[in-house]
């Protein structure tokens, strides 16, 4: 008579993935607080942005958004390649993602330099303060994720990943997805609304 036995003993969600979820949830609450702060200033203001301050550059930031969200494609391909046992093919995808992330940061830095030259600084009232704190906090997270991607790319080049062993890449990908998802919320809120 056939009987049922457990054939797998591994937990459905690994400890590293669980830790990553806790980290991402905590980070999400940080950004929820910042968005709450932004909403107070934005909804309470009669004119936004104030008339004497420069408007945010929509075109270049839109293109930058495409670059950031486009970076999800090579990263997803890299993950698929590693899972299917083709770790060597993943190196290019990880590097492309890191480069696109770096491009996002550089363009944002240039955009900020121009804004400061036009008079929008951290001290330009609640508008400047809210903008730089919210977008700056996201930029810091992108920077951390790019550094992480670079480390993972080096590991991938050294052949550290295989179909059975690629936790570092998976965790890095979760963080990168989180950073991109944040931007999907922040870009319309800060630049379009």
């Amino acid at each position: 008579m056939p009987h049922r036995v457990p054939v797998e003993t591994a937990p459905p969600v690994s400890n590293t993935r669980l830790a990553m979820i806790v980290l991402v949830t905590g980070e999400s609450m940080l950004f929820a607080g910042l968005i709450g702060m932004y909403l107070v200033f934005r909804l309470a203001a009669r004119t936004w942005p104030p008339g004497d301050l420069p408007r945010l550059p929509l075109g270049i930031t839109g293109a930058n958004t495409v670059a950031l969200l486009g970076s999800l494609v090579p990263l997803s391909r890299a993950l698929r390649a590693v899972r299917s046992g083709n770790a060597a093919a993943a190196v290019h995808g990880i590097e492309t993602t890191a480069i696109l992330g770096a491009i996002f940061l550089v363009v944002q830095g240039l955009e900020w330099t121009r804004l400061v030259e036009h008079g929008l600084t951290l001290g330009s009232g609640v508008y400047g303060g809210a903008f730089y704190v919210l977008i700056g906090c996201h930029a810091v997270h992108v920077l951390a994720a790019v550094v992480w991607l670079a480390v993972v790319a080096i590991l991938a080049r050294r052949g550290a990943f295989s179909a059975a062993r690629h936790t570092a890449l998976e965790m890095c990908a979760i963080y990168w997805y989180f950073v991109c998802a944040l931007w999907v919320v922040l870009f319309p809120l800060v630049y379009l609304y």
Binding site: P2, V5, V40, L43, A45
Partner: protein, 93 residues
């Protein structure tokens, strides 16, 4: 226990709009339909919803992940003659 529950329900049901008053600062500082008051209201609603949404989503995902794994494990049927066969041997008996 049910009496306490009933008493609590009676108290809540009897509560009128007096419970829905703002704090002293918002009540006295802003006029009706003030944008600052509205801004704080929306922000409070957002910040109230955020943790429940986040933790609810994560808990829901974990729940379904574990339930699906349990079902998959339970659906695997162990065949006695398959385990008694030497390793590497395939085909019919």
């Amino acid at each position: 226990m049910s009496r306490i529950l009933l008493a609590s329900l009676a108290v809540v049901a009897a509560a009128s709009h007096a419970f829905a008053q703002s704090c002293a600062m918002c009540g006295s500082s802003f006029g009706p339909d003030d944008p600052v008051q509205r801004a704080f209201s929306w922000s409070i609603l957002f910040l109230m919803a955020a943790p429940y949404t986040l933790f609810g989503s994560v808990a829901g995902w974990l729940f379904f992940k574990y339930r699906r794994t349990d079902r998959r494990r339970a659906s695997v049927v162990h065949l006695p003659w398959a385990s008694s066969r030497p390793a590497g041997e395939t085909g019919g008996h």
